[in-house]
């Protein structure tokens, strides 16, 4: 223990309490205002369950697609040289800078009824996935990129001299080193997708049982004055997300078990 660890620990606890723990506690408290039955009803309403399922499945799918696409993009950005690489690299972060509602509008213009590309996926589940892919793109790219930059090229040369093909070298040597980074990115992308509102609210049409995700459902509940119902749905969403994040975290610890 360093002499500062007591102080830093105190600062961290206070900070996390103010920024994370208190708001979450307030949310849980809000969700119980309508009593046990009210809480339970808000949770088990078929519309809420349907929205929750859709949210989790879409988020998982998006996180997985990004795991692969993000890794490939990071690979190209680190290992390949091409004109305009700097611009492409800067482009990756733009989905973060764009207000998500603008992202939703842009998506609708591109892939909606009046799509210049002839692709109309508006008001479908495909549209949700597309919108979520857009807003979660940077995570895996940005968590894998530094790992790949730091990765000792001699590892690959050693594998090669030992007889490994390019694919075998990637699978046995490079991938295990990238995995912790990929998992961090996946966790972030999943969390962001679960809570995403702005980009999906426009393009989905919010059709209950079809394209309505939890965040939009919760917003609807607030609009109609059922704040404790909204809070209850949020709490469940958070609890499940927390579980998934813990799972990814455990997997990540397993992937870094060799670190002394």
């Amino acid at each position: 223990m360093s002499p500062f660890s007591g102080l830093t620990l105190g600062v961290v606890v206070t900070y996390l309490s103010l920024i994370v723990a208190l708001p979450l506690a307030a949310l849980v408290w809000q969700s119980t205002k309508s009593g046990d039955t009210g809480f339970w009803q808000s949770l088990t309403s078929p519309e809420a369950v349907s929205a929750l399922k859709l949210t989790l499945l879409a988020s998982l799918a998006v996180a997985l697609v990004n795991a692969i696409a993000g890794t490939v993009i990071a690979w190209v950005l680190v290992r390949d040289e091409f004109p305009g690489k700097g611009v492409v690299n800067a482009l990756i972060d733009l989905p973060f800078a764009l207000p998500t509602i603008v992202a939703g509008l842009t998506m609708l213009a591109l892939y909606g009824p009046r799509s210049p590309l002839g692709i109309d996926v508006a008001y479908t589940r495909t549209a949700i996935v597309l919108a979520l892919l857009f807003v979660t793109l940077p995570f895996v790219v940005r968590t894998v990129q530094p790992v790949l930059q730091e990765l000792d090229r001699e590892l690959e040369e050693a594998a090669e001299s030992l007889g490994a093909s390019d694919w075998q070298t990637f699978w046995h040597i490079v991938f295990p080193n990238l995995l912790p980074g990929i998992l961090s990115g996946v966790a972030l992308a999943f969390a962001k997708a679960v809570g995403e509102f702005g980009s999906v609210v426009i393009i989905t049409g919010n059709i209950p049982f079809k394209t309505e995700v939890s965040s939009v459902y919760i917003f609807g509940q607030i609009e109609s004055g059922n704040t404790s119902g909204a809070a209850a749905a949020s709490v469940v969403l958070l609890a499940i997300s927390f579980g998934v994040l813990l799972l990814i975290g455990a997997f990540r610890r397993w992937a870094t078990r060799h670190h002394a």
Binding site: D152, E154, L155, E157, A158, A159, E160, S161, L162, G163, A164, S165, Q168, H172, I173, P176, N177, H258, H259, A260
Partner: protein
């Protein structure tokens, strides 16, 4: 047989790392590529391994043209200065890697890995991860990993460069015994002339992308063909056109025919050996090496005038 390098040139942009280098390495020998940093020694080793593609020239390994052959098909074992340990695999996993890639039967892999663990004396560490090993242990693991696939040629790039002096000495002795035991054609890169002299049967001295001289440690020391080899393999002093080993400088207290007059600037006693720094009457300074016993006999003091005889000095042909 062995390794045959012929007219290899390698450029990185405008920098010529290797300039028409040719070298023969005998089957079963232990050869050192010796030179200062930037001399091209590592590049030459990497060209032999196939990790660099030469711009010109040929590499033949065990009689087969390997110039265009991928590293994984060359049958070479490569050991890196910084170990290149697969840190997500145990010691056992690291050593087994090449065998697993070759899809050898599980029992065979296990037996071979056990054999190698014994050879590099790492049995107690078989299930540890590289991060739990010392530098010397990691390098022995890397050696076992390279030997596991029974390479035709073992290539080591500054294998002891990252280790402290004591471990370096131990590992050097150990590599020598290992080579006696395994007899695989071995080439190692070093910038340390003592390491090259202590280990190698044959040394190739590289300088500015060229091989200056190839020979046994004794040849290089006794018959250097260029001033660079003379001063890099052992030390040498320059007296005008002449080059001489410091221990061949003969100090006289009386004026002597053919000797240079000099003044003693500084005396350093290093235990067995002593160094006497001399200001030459013409110009320049040199230091003479002798035993402390000899220094005592001469009874030299700082400021004394001596006459320096350099009978065994060499004169090299122009522009080498």
């Amino acid at each position: 047989m062995g390794i045959h390098v012929e007219g290899v040139t390698k450029r990185f942009g405008s920098f010529t790392a290797l300039n028409e280098v040719s070298l023969d390495v005998q089957q079963g020998s232990l050869t050192a590529l010796l030179g200062p940093s930037g001399s091209g020694k590592s590049t030459l080793l990497r060209v032999i391994a196939g990790l660099e593609r030469p711009d010109a020239g040929r590499v033949t390994i065990s009689g087969e043209d390997a110039t265009g052959v991928a590293p994984r098909k060359r049958g070479v074992g490569f050991v890196f200065q910084h170990y290149a340990a697969f840190k997500h695999m145990t010691v056992r996993g690291n050593i087994a890697f090449g065998l697993k890639i070759r899809k050898r039967p599980r029992a065979e892999v296990r037996a071979r890995v056990d054999e190698l663990l014994a050879l590099v004396q790492l049995q107690p560490f078989a299930d540890r991860y590289p991060s739990q090993l010392s530098g010397g242990q990691r390098q022995r693991m890397a050696l076992a990993r390279a030997l596991a696939v029974e390479p035709k040629v073992l290539l080591l790039d500054e294998p002891f460069g990252a280790l402290d002096t004591r471990v370096r000495g131990e590992l050097r002795e150990w590599l020598h015994r290992l080579h006696d035991e395994v007899r695989v054609t071995t080439v190692f890169v070093t910038h340390d002339q003592e390491e090259a002299m202590a280990l190698a049967d044959q040394i190739a001295v590289l300088h500015d992308g060229r091989i200056e001289q190839v020979g046994s440690p004794r040849d290089l020391y006794d018959q250097p063909q260029t001033p660079f080899v003379m001063s890099f393999v052992g030390a040498a002093a320059q007296l005008g056109e002449r080059w001489v080993r410091q221990h061949d400088l003969d100090l006289r207290l009386e004026p002597t025919a053919g000797a240079l007059e000099a003044r003693v600037e500084r005396i350093a006693r290093l235990g067995f050996e002593a160094r006497v720094e001399l200001q030459l009457a013409g110009s320049g300074t040199v230091w003479a090496q002798m035993t402390c016993a000899e220094l005592n006999r001469l009874e030299l003091e700082r400021g004394d005038t001596v006459w320096v005889l350099a009978d065994r000095a060499r004169v090299f042909a122009e522009s080498s």
